[in-house]
């Protein structure tokens, strides 16, 4: 059944509309805006749920010339992700309404959260590369706003910037990669297209076209780099723990359940398209490496949310590794774990929020034995943490078992170094058990000082994680139910061949079962040694900068800041002549370099044959003389006057070359410039100062460069005098009277044929006027208010009555 375009578009657009309206909603509803958000999320969820049985692509055209359109593909994989995002969205909005009680800037918070949810739905359902990129970057933008929610806090701003730089930098890689795909599609599909569904349908032709143009490895590398930045894969994982300064509902929603999974989602989406030995080598290694490093760092974590953040990176690594293996089990592991991870990690984050809210601390060393005060929360945590650890029969076990099977099968086939895959996977799982138990220890064992009295959390805080934990239990008890409902569709969409997912508890002994047994038993055995483990890991983390990616980040940012400050003061030193020199010089150099790169033939040979009429020669000769006179003028008055001679000569040249409109414009503009010069002439110094020889040489060099650029451009771009008029020129000339009703072709082009260009130019003129108006206004205002600032610093905050 084909999906309904209206329903899908409404589901994606609804959160954006609500985001725009949220300041209004907040004014009416106050803190209950969260519940309104939940209603919006539920509406999107309900709309998408009606499409569960549909499969196909629908769209409307937007830029037909480039084959860009609003196009949505509804299949199991996109729906799984979209339903997860909107479903968890409902719970997070309910949770937020209680959790964000008494906070500032709630209108902005809900607007960003709603816009984020819309963007995620867009990423999940769009199948046009341009739209995927757009929504992808929108999620990064919303994440930036939400991480930086506490704008007064320096750490919050630093983390928001870091997340922005890393994920948007990844987004630029994605853009480059997607453009490569679009270029390859020209060879494979016979035309420039941004239609991802069509590319995947013709994956072999696409791969062949990419290989042929040598773009396969670059495109693969760029797309994987983009996904790695978004999904916090090593070595770009460092932004995720820093992002935990965001309010906890944001961490649960963006940084565990949805946004960080966008990278994984997209890898799953392009997996059938890019599957190759390079893909396996790159993606599987990246995933397993992240799985291990994330688990190690989670074991060493001392803060509940930090532990969960590293654990999220580790589990994202598991999904990436699953998609990396070119085997049926791999794709199944990735798709199924996407669901399972959301079902256990989101409640754990919400639990961490409850603990921080009620016990007042997030430090793991200060917390313990909380089950007495928080029995329901403890029960939720037991389900979620054991699922995270991959203990049978909890749902996390099934997908992890699939990864073990994939790793084992790949190693079994390839042999040699490939045996590292199962070994590393098992090691990471041992560590996963250790940190899962560590998190669970919050609720068990002895009470630890110095926590004050712990309150009972309200139902709005406990309800959402309880719903998710219940869902986790359902999937644990009857995994085949979830598979049949939606996961099978997701597996089909991401598989490279036929795949029939069947899950259940193992009935007989096999190597993957042995790996699971080693992971669980090893984890419990290693748990008492966690102190030593953590100390060792921290020594590694504190190593000098070369092995610490966040150190690299800091170095790059600070170096960029320093060098750009230096560069800025060199290029923009406040003197207009410096600006002109840089702009004209750089522009001419770029243009000349462009001509040289293209290697256009210089038409000098043809020029020799043109007879120049005497009148033209005289006019141009006078113009040249005037130009020399401008350069050697001793005062501004003579400079301005000789400059007008140059301009009027040009106007006469235009008349001789039968271009009356150009001549008129040139005359009028020349007159206006002369008048404006007269206005300001009194303010200018009457004579020039001494000119340094070095400055003279520099100015002469820039002038010659600009002149050369203009000369070469004219030679190369103007058709020879003997050439036939172009088809465009012929069209305009023939159509001016019947089509535009005017005999002045220039004017008809301006106001009729190409009126849209004229409109754009008018907007430029108007913008220039407004900009100058604003600049001049602000300048006087700045001068007027500067002394006041010094006298009386403005107190921040709005506390005054």
């Amino acid at each position: 059944m084909a999906p309904d375009l209206t329903i899908v578009t409404t589901a994606v657009a609804l959160p954006f509309v609500a985001a725009v309206l949220s300041p209004l909603l907040y004014r009416v509803l106050g803190e209950r805006t969260g519940y309104a958000g939940a209603v919006v999320a539920a509406a999107s969820f309900g709309l998408l749920a009606t499409e569960v049985n549909s499969d196909g692509t629908v769209g409307a055209s937007w830029i037909p010339a480039l084959d860009v359109g609003i196009q949505f593909t509804v299949d199991g994989w996109g729906l799984l992700f979209a339903l997860l995002a909107s479903g968890i969205g409902v719970l997070v909005f309910v949770y937020s309404a209680e959790y964000m009680h008494g906070e500032e800037e709630l209108a902005r918070y809900y607007a960003a959260l709603l816009a984020f949810m819309g963007s995620i739905l867009g990423v999940a359902l769009a199948s046009d590369l341009v739209f995927i990129f757009l929504f992808w970057e929108l999620t990064s933008l919303c994440s930036f706003v939400l991480i930086g929610h506490y704008t007064e806090d320096g750490e919050s701003r630093y983390s928001a910037r870091m997340a922005m730089v890393v994920t948007v930098g990844g987004g630029l890689c994605l853009l480059a990669g997607l453009l490569m795909l679009a270029v390859a599609a020209r060879g494979a599909l016979g035309g420039v297209t941004f239609d991802l569904t069509a590319m995947i349908a013709n994956d072999e032709a696409m791969r062949a076209s990419l290989r042929e143009s040598g773009l396969f490895v670059p495109a693969l590398g760029l797309i994987v780099a983009a996904a790695a930045a978004k999904s916090a894969q090593v070595p770009l994982h460092f932004w995720l723990p820093n992002a935990m300064v965001a309010p906890t509902p944001v961490s649960a929603f963006l940084h565990s359940a949805t946004m960080v999974k966008v990278g994984v989602y997209f890898l799953g989406r392009v997996r059938p398209l890019l599957m190759s030995p390079e893909w396996v080598w790159l993606v599987a290694t990246l995933g397993l490496l992240t799985m291990t490093v994330g688990a190690l760092l989670a074991v060493a974590a001392t803060d509940t949310k930090e532990l969960l953040a590293y654990s999220t990176a580790s589990h994202l690594g598991l999904m990436v590794a699953g998609f990396g293996f070119d085997i049926v089990y791999g794709g199944e592991a990735g798709a199924f774990h996407l669901l399972n991870h959301a079902l256990f990690k989101a409640p754990l984050f919400l639990v961490a929020g409850i603990v921080a809210h009620e016990a007042g601390t997030r430090n793991l060393d200060h917390l313990g034995g909380l089950w007495r005060e928080l029995p329901i929360t403890a029960a939720i945590t037991v389900v979620a943490a054991l699922s995270m650890a991959g203990i049978p029969p909890f749902n996390g076990f099934y997908s992890k078992e699939l990864l073990f099977e994939a790793a084992y099968e790949v190693a079994h086939e390839a042999g040699g170094f490939a045996w590292l895959y199962p070994a590393v996977a098992t090691l990471a799982s041992v560590l996963t058990v250790v940190y899962s138990v560590k998190f669970l220890a919050l609720f068990f064992g002895e009470r630890r000082a110095p926590v004050a009295d712990v309150h009972r959390p309200p139902i709005a805080l406990v309800g959402p994680p309880a719903v998710l934990a219940t869902a986790a239990v359902v999937v644990s008890v009857a995994p085949q139910l979830a598979v049949d409902a939606i996961v099978q569709g997701a597996v089909d969409a991401t598989a490279t061949g036929e795949a029939q997912l069947e899950v259940g508890l193992p009935t007989h002994f096999s190597p993957p079962v042995a790996m699971s047994a080693v992971a669980v038993l090893g984890g419990f055995a290693a748990y008492p040694l966690r102190g030593h483990l953590a100390a060792g890991i921290r020594r590694g983390v504190d190593a000098p900068i070369p092995v610490r990616p966040s150190g690299w980040y800091d170095w790059i940012v600070s170096t960029t800041e320093v060098s750009s400050a230096r560069f800025g003061s060199a290029v923009h030193n406040g003197l207009l002549r410096t600006y002109v020199g840089w702009v004209a010089g750089a522009g001419s150099l770029l243009a000349l370099a462009g001509f040289a790169a293209v290697g256009g033939p210089l038409g000098i040979g043809e020029i020799g044959g043109i007879g120049v009429p005497l009148a033209v020669a005289v006019v141009l000769g006078v113009a040249t003389l005037a130009g020399v006179a401008v350069a050697t003028a001793s005062s501004h008055v003579s400079g301005v006057l000789t400059m007008s001679i140059l301009g009027f000569m040009l106007a006469i040249f235009f008349i001789l070359a039968s271009a009356p409109d150009l001549a008129l414009t040139q005359l009028v503009v020349e007159t206006l410039i002369l008048l404006i010069f007269l206005l300001v002439l009194q303010r200018l110094p009457s004579f020039y100062s001494e000119i340094r020889p070095l400055a003279l040489a520099r100015d002469a060099a820039v002038s010659i460069l600009v002149g050369a650029m203009a000369f070469v451009s004219v030679l190369l771009t103007i058709p020879g005098p003997a050439a036939d008029p172009t088809s465009v020129a012929t069209y305009y000339t023939e159509q001016a009277v019947p089509g535009g009703g005017g005999t002045n072709v220039v004017n008809v082009i301006l106001v009729d044929f190409r009126a849209f260009d004229t409109l754009g130019e008018l907007l430029v003129v108007a913008t220039a006027a407004i900009a100058i108006l604003v600049l001049v206004t602000m300048r006087t205002r700045g001068e007027a208010s500067a002394p006041e600032d010094e006298a009386e610093p403005i107190p921040d905050g709005g506390d005054s009555p």
């Binding site: 009356p660 409109d661 001549a663 008129l664 414009t665 009028v668 503009v669 007159t671 206006l672 008048l675 404006i676 007269l678 206005l679 300001v680 009194q682 535009g740 009703g741 005017g742 005999t743 002045n744 220039v746 004017n747 008809v748 301006l750 106001v751 009729d752 009126a755 849209f756 004229t758 409109l759 008018l762 907007l763 003129v765 108007a766 220039a768 006027a769 100058i772 108006l773 001049v776 206004t777 006087t780």
Partner: protein, 154 residues
């Protein structure tokens, strides 16, 4: 620059320049000219007044009104009028674009009709492009004069 020669010259030339500007604007569709050229020429005429006299002359000398002294250049009534001309131009340009949509044509479609039997001219062509060109004229006049008057007041 406010010499007698300058002022006398300005008095004689400005009306001629303005008439030429308007005729250039009106004949633009069939002969050299058009909204942009007409607009710039009009600006030149106004700048000539400005150079020969000052910003207040348009109000006090031409319109015979009292000039409120002491206001900054941004609140100056003449500058406000320039800004309004800019705004009106933008409205006309966009309006003429959307007018086509109302009758079912794409954005910015232009049309023309020939009217015959008009006294003196016998046959007159009315082109909707002239409305668009009027917008161009007003935008050019409004923005250039705003820039000139604000910047030179500095």
């Amino acid at each position: 620059m406010t010499t007698t020669i300058m002022r006398t010259t300005a008095r004689v030339t400005v009306p001629i320049v303005l008439v030429v500007a308007i005729s250039l604007f009106l004949q633009g569709h069939n002969l050299p000219g058009g909204g942009f050229i007409g607009g710039v020429l009009t600006v030149a005429a106004f700048v000539l007044i400005y150079v020969a006299y000052d910003l207040d002359y348009l109000e006090s000398g031409v319109l015979g009104r009292e000039v409120a002294s002491g206001t900054s250049v941004f609140e100056h009534r003449t500058v406000t009028a320039y800004r309004r001309a800019l705004l009106a131009g933008l409205v006309i340009v966009l309006g003429s674009g959307f007018a086509g949509i109302l009758v079912g044509d794409p954005f910015l479609t232009q049309g023309y009709v020939h009217i015959e039997g008009v006294p003196i001219y016998h046959e007159v062509e009315l082109a909707s492009a002239l409305v668009f060109d009027l917008g161009v004229f007003l935008v050019v006049v409004g923005s250039l004069l705003t820039i000139v008057s604000v910047v030179s007041a500095e």
